[in-house]
């Protein structure tokens, strides 16, 4: 546990040692099932994550849990309050809980989440649960790290469900209406079912009702998650999806890194800085300036012309 803790610390902080660890562990992965739990704030994601974790831990599996909370825009700090909700679980020797702050990332998870998942996998976790921050409309980055995405909502969030349609419908494998003892639960379930009918995938997600604090319906959720795993493995999507995710991650890293290097280059180049100030003062339009800056960059790199 100490070794994993140290390794994850390096990866979280994107240190050189962290990159070494990532490099080294990429081929050491087992076949961990990565389950994402996402949904609006306050729906009970933590409680459900805890219940699922408990089931798997009691079966003797090694479980990793990653909880993500938002970084405060004010000074970049964060209050990570998910772990305290999993006190009893944290005591189990086969459960490892890691809290992460988004550190400015807007997709609902932290930028390092994928790498953390990889390292946990390499250290032998059978299941890794990723609990996202409470998400709004377009923050579904969890699909880039998870095999099975569970979308949680509660009765009475009708409008929120409509907006969710914009992105998550193609991605969630299981839908949960939690706090199902509240009025409106059945309506929420049928609304979701109608939306699912309209999707074209071969996997038809189920809509489950749960009352997480009473552990009601959580076993069915577990079964659905397991069923999705079987489906992925039988249809070879298990491997196919991972391939896609790995490549997507590659391009994301390229873009981030490129952006960073580009910014650094522009900031330290006097000539280019002049163009930047001219745009700032409204004396030059951004398109012409961009053309010139990119032309300069391409000239200077091997990718450019001869």
């Amino acid at each position: 546990m100490v070794a994993l803790g140290r390794a994850l610390k390096e990866v979280e902080n994107q240190t050189p040692l962290g990159y070494e660890i990532i490099k080294h562990t990429v081929t050491k992965k087992g076949n961990a099932h990565v389950v994402g739990v996402t949904g609006p704030p306050g729906v009970g994601k933590s409680t459900l994550t805890g219940k699922l974790c408990r089931f798997w831990a009691d079966m003797g599996l090694s479980v990793g849990v990653i909880c993500v909370d938002p970084t405060s825009p004010f000074k970049g700090g964060a209050l990570l309050g998910d772990r305290i909700r999993m006190q009893e679980l944290a005591k189990l020797p086969n459960v490892f809980i890691k809290s992460l702050a988004t550190r400015g990332n807007v997709g609902g998870i932290a930028a390092s989440t994928g790498d953390i998942v990889q390292v946990m996998d390499a250290f032998g976790k059978d299941i890794i649960i990723v609990e996202t921050v409470g998400v709004g409309q377009v923050e579904f980055e969890v699909m880039d790290v998870a095999d099975t995405v569970v979308l949680v909502t509660v009765p009475g969030l009708g409008d929120a469900i409509q907006t969710l349609k914009a992105g998550i419908m193609e991605v969630a494998a299981v839908y949960v209406v939690n706090q199902a003892d509240r009025p409106g639960a059945d309506e929420s379930v049928s609304d979701l079912q109608m939306m699912i009918e309209e999707t074209a995938s071969t996997w038809k997600p189920s809509v489950l009702k749960t009352v997480a604090i009473d552990n009601d319906g959580t076993e069915q959720l577990l079964d659905e998650v397991e069923r999705h795993k079987e489906y992925l493995q039988e249809t070879c999507l298990w491997v196919g999806n991972r391939r896609e995710r790995n490549i997507k991650q590659l391009f994301k890293v390229i873009q981030n890194s490129f952006k960073q290097q580009l910014n650094e280059y522009i900031e330290t180049n006097g000539e280019l800085q002049k163009l930047v100030s001219q745009v700032g003062e409204g004396k030059l339009d951004p398109h012409s300036a961009a053309e010139d800056i990119l032309a300069d960059l391409i000239r200077k790199t091997p990718l450019g012309g001869n």
Binding site: G77, R83, I84, Q87, A90
Partner: protein, 129 residues
């Protein structure tokens, strides 16, 4: 330090007063640190959390008199796991006459009731690098 400092904050043992621990946690967040608030925990669990979370700092809050017995235990358990580089701080109500012994046993600093957050934060930044 270019990356946020990670703090694990716990109420020590059975200690009931959470006002200070939560206020300090929130204010350390305002100072740019990432704080995992653990609630009430005993030394073994506090150390487990510090390990799993990759903590730079462990903060122990107590007003009830268990500082002498449980505080140094946290330091001891961290050392056993080879994690002596983690800074262990205590806060709450701790008699001044007990502080030298606590420091000797590895508690880096004790912040009493009239401490200011800027002092706590700058102490932490000074030690963690």
């Amino acid at each position: 330090m270019s990356r946020p400092i990670k703090v694990v904050m716990a109420k020590l043992g059975l200690d009931i007063h959470w006002r200070g621990a939560v206020a300090v946690s929130r204010m350390l967040r305002d100072e740019g640190m990432e704080v995992v608030y653990l609630g009430n925990q005993f030394p073994e669990q506090i150390v487990n959390a510090a390990v799993q979370e990759g903590a730079d700092v462990v903060g122990l809050s107590t007003l009830g008199g268990n500082h002498n017995s449980l505080g140094p235990k946290v330091v001891e358990l961290l050392r056993k796991k080879g994690l002596e580089d983690i800074l262990v701080l205590m806060g709450g109500v701790i008699p001044s006459e007990d502080i030298p012994a606590l420091k000797e046993k590895g508690i880096a600093a004790v912040f009493g009731p009239e401490s200011k957050i800027v002092d706590i934060a700058s102490f932490i930044r000074g030690k963690v690098s």
